[in-house]
């Protein structure tokens, strides 16, 4: 397995840390609203590609920028990072919040995204199957709702959360609050999804308790050419629970 190497950049004054492995065409992975799931799942993709997993500003090892208040600020940040890294065209993978970001990036810059993978993406407006409000749900409950089989997540969590772990989660929740507290949905994002025309795969677990799998119907409507794959017995972090999902993504990216 390829091992990830930490790299640090400054993008528009914001410390930006990423982990990268492998060589070849770049695959950039956008993480979700928390960073506890790590990025080991992407190791096999690095056999084929240059896999780059950045921490978004306000998450994990990257610095803060309290002026980031909507997803477009993150799109602009990644334009800056890609410029720094010399990335022109890219395969994008986005998980949950990162799925919204990846889809928005792809709709705004559809000439630069060659393939798009969305894993249980956030951002769809589905009043019948709304997502869990992760801001008002106690963190300890959210953790339990991320996966179907808790064993896959357990090893990534501290046995008893210490002050630093709690503070890290609070910081990431603060970043999410800046984005979502007042406007958890953006009708303009959904409206412009029709500009996502590159090959797109949408991956979901049928037991997702954060973004209900029923939302796939609306994603299909907005991105008609999307290849939707639902994995049985998996929750929100389907990429942790189902190796076959990870394999299917690699096959699609290739």
């Amino acid at each position: 397995m390829m091992k990830f190497v930490r790299e640090e950049y400054t993008v528009d004054g914001v410390k930006t840390v990423l982990h990268a492995a492998g060589s070849g065409d770049p695959v950039v992975v956008f993480h979700g609203a928390g960073t506890v799931d790590g990025f080991d799942y992407a190791e096999s993709w690095a056999e084929r590609f240059r896999v780059i997993v950045p921490f978004h500003p306000g998450f994990g090892q990257s610095g803060d920028d309290p002026t980031f208040t909507d997803m477009h600020d993150y799109v602009m940040h990644y334009l800056g990072l890609f410029e720094t890294l010399g990335i022109d065209r890219v395969r994008l993978v986005g998980i949950s919040l990162g799925g919204w970001l990846a889809a928005q990036f792809a709709s705004e810059h559809n000439d630069r995204v060659t393939k798009l993978v969305l894993i249980a993406p956030a951002g769809m407006i589905d009043p019948v199957h709304p997502p869990l409000d992760i801001l008002s749900t106690p963190g300890e409950q959210v953790v339990g709702m991320l996966v179907s089989n808790f064993e896959v997540l357990k090893s990534k969590l501290p046995e008893k959360p210490g002050i630093d772990f709690i503070a890290d989660r609070y910081r990431e929740a603060t970043t999410v609050a800046r984005l979502w507290w007042e406007h958890p949905f953006d009708p303009k994002f959904v409206r412009h999804l029709k500009r996502v025309k590159m090959p797109t795969m949408i991956v979901w677990g049928d037991e997702d308790k954060i973004t209900p799998v029923e939302q796939t119907a609306l994603w299909q409507q907005h991105i008609p050419n999307a290849d939707i794959r639902v994995f049985k017995g998996a929750g929100h972090l389907v990429h942790l629970e189902k190796p076959e999902a990870v394999d299917a993504i690699l096959e699609f990216l290739a």
Partner: protein, 382 residues
């Protein structure tokens, strides 16, 4: 103390008819179901509380203090300016203190206007305080806790500009744009009513008060920390060229007076216990929504949270907070001692807590006004 003492009667107007199963709920705030609110009972409570506030004025309390909370049995004053307006025509001498409306939950020009209306109607007897609002209020109002402090400062700027500068003026901020900031009426007091910041002693709120030359009303701050905090406030105010006067540092006290120590404790403790355990019952999550406090403050709180386990202990609470219970002599001595330590002459006395009945409240108000206040005042003049 150099200046005369000042005694406020502070009220929360709690809704006291908690359902039998209320302990099943982790919190009596934010998501505590409002189906438990009975307006018939609410009507009677408003009548009763207003009567008690008017009595406080008649008995010689210097000020009536009201404040704002949402989604909770703790307080029926979601809009304290309405309560202030209802009390105002009925009181003769006392100041009316709205301590206060969190500016983040109202348009700043409108808050400047409402306060000006109360100030003019009371012929300059209004005092106001600006709280950020508890964490719980941010779960209950559509305002982002992660930008709350920035928005708060902008609101204060707008309100002060509206009061101090002749309008119309303009204001172009991040959160608010005013093409014609020109509110009518303007305050009776010039340039504006006395102002305080309300807070729990976070470095951010201390700086705001110190910079603006406002008073600081601390809430839920333990005794030793209050003494330190008041010193910090004096130092920081001096840094900005202001003098923090003793009356600008009101001390929040919980007082109960009876003829004997035993009677006072027997009558009071049960209500104080319910105040802390039931009416102020919240969760760490409700207390600190994302971004409401800094990471440093969160770590301090998380470290302190481990120490808060265990049931209500009157002795511990009395030692931690400013709780004075007993005979008039004991309560007077206690308050006098705290005044010296805190460097204040201004007592913000919580005269009614939780489900304390009317009869006990009347006794408390009366004995405090008739027996405690004169003792302290004569001690000053001696």
């Amino acid at each position: 103390m150099s200046a005369d003492y000042r005694f406020n009667a502070m009220y929360f107007l709690p809704y006291i008819h908690l359902p039998r199963n209320h302990k099943q709920f982790k919190s009596t705030w934010v998501d505590f179901p409002n189906k438990f609110y009975d307006p018939e009972k609410g009507y009677k409570l408003y009548k009763r509380y207003l009567k008690e506030l008017v009595l406080a004025d008649r008995l010689g309390f210097d000020a009536i203090v009201v404040n704002e909370h949402h989604n909770t049995v703790y307080s029926m004053m979601a809009t304290p300016n309405i309560i202030a307006a209802a009390v105002l025509p009925q009181i003769k001498k006392a100041k009316i203190c709205v301590w206060g409306v969190p500016p983040n939950f109202m348009l700043p020009n409108r808050l400047a206007e409402e306060y000006a209306i109360l100030d003019v109607m009371s012929k300059g007897r209004l005092e106001v305080a600006f709280p950020l609002g508890t964490g719980m209020e941010y779960w209950s109002n559509p305002v982002n806790p992660a930008t709350a402090r920035e928005r708060f400062k902008e609101s204060l700027q707008i309100i002060l500009q509206a009061w101090k500068e002749d309008g119309p003026t303009t204001y172009y901020g991040k959160y608010y744009t005013y093409r014609f900031l020109n509110p009518w009426p303007r305050p009776y007091q010039k340039p504006h009513p006395p102002c305080y910041i309300v807070g729990t002693g976070s470095p951010e709120t201390i700086e705001v008060a110190a910079e603006l030359g406002f008073g600081y009303s601390s809430v839920f701050v333990p005794q030793e920390r209050t003494y330190e905090l008041n010193q910090q406030l004096r130092d920081r105010a001096a840094h900005f060229g202001h003098t923090m006067r003793p009356d600008q540092l009101p001390l929040l006290t919980y007082v109960y007076v009876a003829e004997t120590q035993e009677k006072a404790e027997q009558e009071y403790i049960v209500h104080l216990q319910r105040f802390f355990e039931d009416y102020a019952r919240s969760t760490p999550q409700w207390l600190a929504p994302p971004g409401y406090i800094s990471i440093e403050q969160l770590k301090i709180r998380a470290a302190g949270a481990d120490k808060l386990h265990g049931g209500f202990d009157f002795n511990a609470v009395s030692k931690s907070f400013f709780v004075a219970v007993g005979t008039p002599e004991k309560v007077a001595n206690q308050l006098g001692e705290w005044a010296i330590k805190a460097g204040t002459n201004h007592f913000n006395n919580v005269m009614h807590v939780a489900d304390m009945p009317h009869s006990k409240t009347v006794q408390n108000l009366s004995l405090f006004a008739n027996e405690v206040m004169p003792r302290l005042r004569s001690a000053v003049t001696q």
